[in-house]
């Protein structure tokens, strides 16, 4: 049948009408949605005003628990559970509040509902909520049910509901990656020791089956949050033939150890806190692992071990063929107990890779006076320009220049004077000049002027000119003027 102009008219008119109706429908939807949401938020705000203080005072233990619970039981309506969930979990609870909140959620029947939802059962309350909450009907659409399961898993994690850990472990096999990821997180929050092994299993499965839809980082984050004593559960992974599994297991232990050491001063990994078996694996196997990533990550753990073998092992890693192993070894030695290794660390200041040089300088600075002396001595002795540049960089970043200048201005400057001189000769004068410009130490300024005033460095020259013209102290001004004249001539010639 030929297409006639009348047909085109009809088609276009039909499209116009459809689009017009569609636009109208969208407008109505937007307005209706706004009105409904406004009503909903007014109700929530009202409930928050009425019951929010009750929950807050219960959690801060200013209100007797039973009284508060009875008040909250008074909340009714089709969306009771939804509203209670909103009120109870509105703010992240502090560690002291968690037990009270957990008990409250149990007593109000919320835990049971969440458990049922997570296990995929339909309960009366869920069905009621489904029709009461704004998107409830959609939640019942099979493909969208994961939203309810994931939220339920999340809630159980927030209140650290220990009894729910088997359900959460089961959720690691859920068909939707969101539910798996939230279950992993909730297990980390609950920290049930028995859930560590399934999480490790899951980690290994993700490595061995790259098609898995859950991120490796999510599982690693969860495992890292467990206490140190759980690391025994990683022994098999440390000896695994798959190099990535060994690497991740090592890295997880490293993260746990680092976290623990940040909390405790003089932290040591001894047999009381760390399984001896693991210590042996680290000292006997992992530091010689064929995978350089494993060797690198092992360095940090080894540095905390209270074993005489750790120092020689770390010194071996300091000479590793891979630059990032050396980098991690240098960083691992940044503890005061390795103060005596400062000369070996200083040798890494001439490492071919700049990141190792930088780490070595930073490690030496961690040692305080001894380290900075070592750094200064190396700075003055070395002929390696890269090494000198790196040290000058670190001295500036760490804010050492004002101290060096103050000591240089003192009676017996010694090394500091030579360091300053070296910095000036390298043209690293910006920071020095900034300090001099803001310093009120006339003795220092005079001394610097007399020693370095004639240097051709543009920054020093600018400062000398400034002193020669703007200085209020007539003696210093005259000195600057005498210094600058030959300097100008020298520059001209």
């Amino acid at each position: 049948m030929p297409v006639l102009i009348e047909h085109i008219y009809e088609i276009v008119v039909a499209i116009v009408i459809t689009v017009l109706l569609g636009t109208g429908a969208l407008i109505i939807m937007a307005i209706a949605r706004r009105q409904r949401r406004d009503r909903y938020f007014r109700r929530i705000d009202d409930l928050r005003q009425r019951y929010g203080p009750v929950i807050a005072t219960m959690l801060s233990q200013k209100l007797e628990y039973e009284r508060g619970r009875e008040v909250l039981k008074g909340i009714s309506g089709v969306d009771r559970n939804y509203v209670l969930e909103q009120l109870c979990l509105e703010k992240k609870p502090t560690p002291d509040q968690v037990p009270i909140l957990r008990r409250l959620c149990e007593d109000l029947g919320l835990v049971r509902v969440w458990q049922q939802r997570l296990s995929g059962h339909l309960d009366i309350a869920s069905i009621r909520d489904t029709f009461a909450s704004p998107e409830g009907v959609l939640h019942r659409v099979g493909r969208l049910h994961f939203l309810l399961r994931a939220k339920a898993a999340d809630n159980l994690g927030i209140i650290q509901h220990r009894a729910s850990w088997p359900l959460l472990v089961k959720a690691l096999e859920d068909s939707h990656p969101d539910v798996q990821a939230v279950a992993v997180r909730s297990l980390a929050s609950i920290q049930e020791p028995a859930s560590f092994a399934p999480l490790v299993e899951r980690l290994n499965a993700v490595i061995l089956k790259p098609s898995t839809r859950i991120s490796l980082r999510s599982i690693k984050t969860a495992l890292v949050s467990f206490p140190l004593k759980q690391t025994a559960g990683l022994a098999a992974s440390l000896a695994h033939q798959h190099r990535r599994i060994r690497f991740l297991a090592t890295d997880i232990i490293r993260e746990i150890v680092e976290r623990q050491s940040a909390w405790e001063e003089d932290f040591v990994l001894d047999a009381n806190v760390f399984p001896q078996e693991l210590g042996e694996i680290f000292l006997g196997q992992l530091c010689f692992d064929e995978n350089p990533d494993v060797r690198a990550r092992a360095a940090s753990v080894i540095s905390h071990l209270s074993d005489a073998r750790s120092t020689p092992v770390l010194l071996t890693l300091l000479e590793d063929a891979q630059w990032f192993v050396r980098l991690h070894a240098v960083r691992a030695l940044a503890k005061r107990k390795y103060l005596s290794q400062a000369p070996q660390i200083a040798q890494r200041m001439t490492d071919p890779h700049w990141m190792v040089r930088e780490a070595a300088a930073r490690t030496l600075l961690v040692f305080g006076r001894v380290g900075s002396d070592q750094l200064a001595a190396h700075f003055l002795a070395t002929q390696d320009r890269y090494s000198q540049e790196q040290i000058a960089d670190e001295m500036q970043r760490a804010g050492l220049i004002p101290n060096l200048l103050a000591q240089y201005g003192g009676e017996a400057p010694g090394t500091e004077g030579k360091v300053i001189e070296q910095l000036v000769q390298m043209g690293k004068t910006s920071y020095i000049v900034s300090v001099l410009q803001s310093s009120s130490d006339q003795k220092l300024r005079r001394k610097f002027l007399m020693t370095f005033g004639r240097y051709l460095d543009p920054q020093i020259r600018g400062w000398v000119r400034q002193v020669a013209t703007e200085e209020t102290d007539p003696n210093l001004r005259t000195l600057a003027q005498t210094v600058i004249r030959p300097a100008i001539k020298q520059g001209e010639s």
Binding site: I5, Y9, V12, V13, I15, V16, V19, L20, G22, T23, L26, I27, M29, A30, I31, R33, R34, Q35, R37, K92, E135, L147, A150, K151, A153, D154, P177, D178, V182, R185, A188, V206, T212, R213, I214, S215, L216, R217, S218, T221, V224, S225, E255, E258, R259, W354, Q390, A392, D393, Q396, R397, A398, G399, G427, K428, S430, Y431, V433, S434, V435
Partner: protein
């Protein structure tokens, strides 16, 4: 004479076919994007209820990131911006401000406000850049580094920042933008949570005009006062909420706003960093990364998410709007032109087969077709080649369809984030969504065509857009 008349009639007919095809193709694709993003944004919004930002914030596994802030003559906003950026909620954050040879007091103000001292630090230029004049730091504020360099444009400034950046990821942020406190965490979430290698993550840019800002923070969201600004609010909603979300869902992300995006540093360096041969360095980088990844057989992912928010000032004056849109269009053409090998190239997957052709034929060349249509169709009408009622029907359809898409964007906002709280705001947005197609759309079209003309004529300069100081 008759032959010429025949040629003319033939050409007119051909053009009419082109314009009708363009109309259905463009609007069809926009409708598909709208439907896809309606579902996607709604679902994403629901998923946010169990997102676990706290875990990301507290985890030792969350990778450190650096915010790079290129700035040129931003003396009025720079100090407050940097203060606000330093307050960003992120566990391991560094900030690098790159002053691109400002001629105003930007550097002096930064030095005074943060007590910075000049240092002679090591500069390792893996990406070639203009000379660096100095590094400024305060040892007590070790996560802030200010770099002063010779003027070389935004891409050059960003490359200097990348060269000095030490973290695996960096976030580009314009100096006049305001980042919501947890925006970087939200932007990093797809990178951390994705099982795939996500090398770029973009967030939504919203319009600051009309909002109340206090201490570098948006404290109250409102609509701007002038029509030009309000039209842009609708336009941004459409572009970000359903344009970019739709393409993200299809795996065809070709644009990530450089005003606010996170990139994997090593990937960007491997891909050659920000190049200077286009005026829209953000889109250019994305295309470049796609090409690099395909050539090196790397499996990468780029993600757009609609909940990390960055607020930016939009042009309040028509002349400034013109400058902005001409630049955007010119940059689009430059980028697409230099990467023409991607067009219908199966090696690039959705990008090559769908996203690139769409951006070329609809976003770049479509402006010219639509613009010519405003002249040619009436001409055809004049010569009696198109019946009057059909002409009127098509005009009505074009206006109604435009409104339908814009209203859809407003509905999407209403279904999800509802950032404009007043009922009046919603009504105004809906009105402007309808009115956008009468006058504003044609104005923007004119600027876009000017952008194409500038691309063809080889115009290279960057027109500076000045703001009146919204918020």
């Amino acid at each position: 004479m008759e032959e010429w008349r025949q040629v003319f009639y033939h050409a007119m007919n051909m053009f009419n076919v082109v314009i009708v095809s363009y109309f259905f193709m463009a609007n069809g694709m926009y409708t598909i994007l709208m439907i896809l993003s309606l579902g996607s944004v709604w679902l994403h919004n629901r998923r946010l209820t169990y997102q676990g930002l706290d875990e990301l914030r507290e985890s030792a596994v969350t990778p450190p990131a650096t915010i790079l802030v290129p700035a040129w003559n931003e003396q009025d906003v720079i100090v407050e911006s940097v203060r606000s950026i330093l307050r960003t909620d992120y566990p391991a954050l560094e900030v690098i401000v790159i002053d691109d040879g400002s001629t105003d007091e930007s550097m002096d103000r930064l030095i005074a406000a943060f007590r910075l001292v000049k240092m002679d630090l090591i500069y390792r230029p893996r990406l070639a850049t203009k000379a660096v004049k100095g590094f400024y730091m305060n040892p007590r504020l070790p996560n802030l580094l200010v770099i002063s360099k010779e003027n070389g444009g935004k891409p050059d400034a960003l490359n200097v920042g990348i060269n000095m950046c030490r973290t695996p990821y960096f976030c580009t942020l314009d100096a006049d933008c305001i980042l919501e406190r947890d925006a970087l965490l939200r932007l990093m979430r797809p990178i951390v949570r994705s099982p795939e290698n996500t090398v770029a993550s973009g967030g939504i840019v919203r319009i600051l005009n009309g909002c109340e800002v206090k201490d570098g923070k948006v404290v109250s969201v409102g609509l701007p006062k002038t029509a030009v600004e309000r039209f842009q609010v609708v336009e941004y909603l459409r572009s970000f909420l359903f344009g970019r979300t739709g393409w993200d869902l299809l795996g065809g992300t070709l644009i990530v706003s450089g005003a606010f995006a996170v990139f994997h540093r090593e990937t960007v360096m491997e891909a050659g960093g920000f190049l200077h041969d286009t005026v829209t360095e953000d889109m250019d980088l994305i295309v470049q990364i796609h090409r690099w990844a395909t050539h090196h057989k790397r499996k990468i992912k780029m993600k757009f998410t609609s909940d990390p928010v960055c607020w930016t000032e939009c042009p309040a004056q028509v002349t400034m709007l013109g400058r902005q849109r001409r630049r955007w269009q010119m940059g689009l053409c430059q980028t697409l032109w230099k990467s023409s090998e991607m067009l219908f190239n199966g090696k690039y997957g959705t990008i090559g087969m769908l996203s690139f052709p769409f951006h070329l034929y609809v976003e770049a060349l479509g402006s010219v077709v639509e613009f010519l249509g405003y002249f040619m169709v009436p001409l055809a009408l004049l010569f009696g080649m198109v019946p009057v009622p059909l002409f009127i029907l098509f005009v009505v359809l074009s206006l109604v369809y435009g409104s339908f898409l814009s209203v859809g964007a407003v509905l999407l906002e209403e279904l999800t984030y509802r950032r404009y709280p007043g009922f009046r705001d919603l009504v105004i947005l809906l009105i402007y969504a309808i009115l956008e197609n009468i006058g504003y759309r044609q104005l923007v079209l004119l600027y876009r065509v000017q952008g194409v003309v500038r691309f063809i004529t080889g115009f290279r300069s960057w027109e500076k857009v000045t703001h009146v100081g919204a918020g």
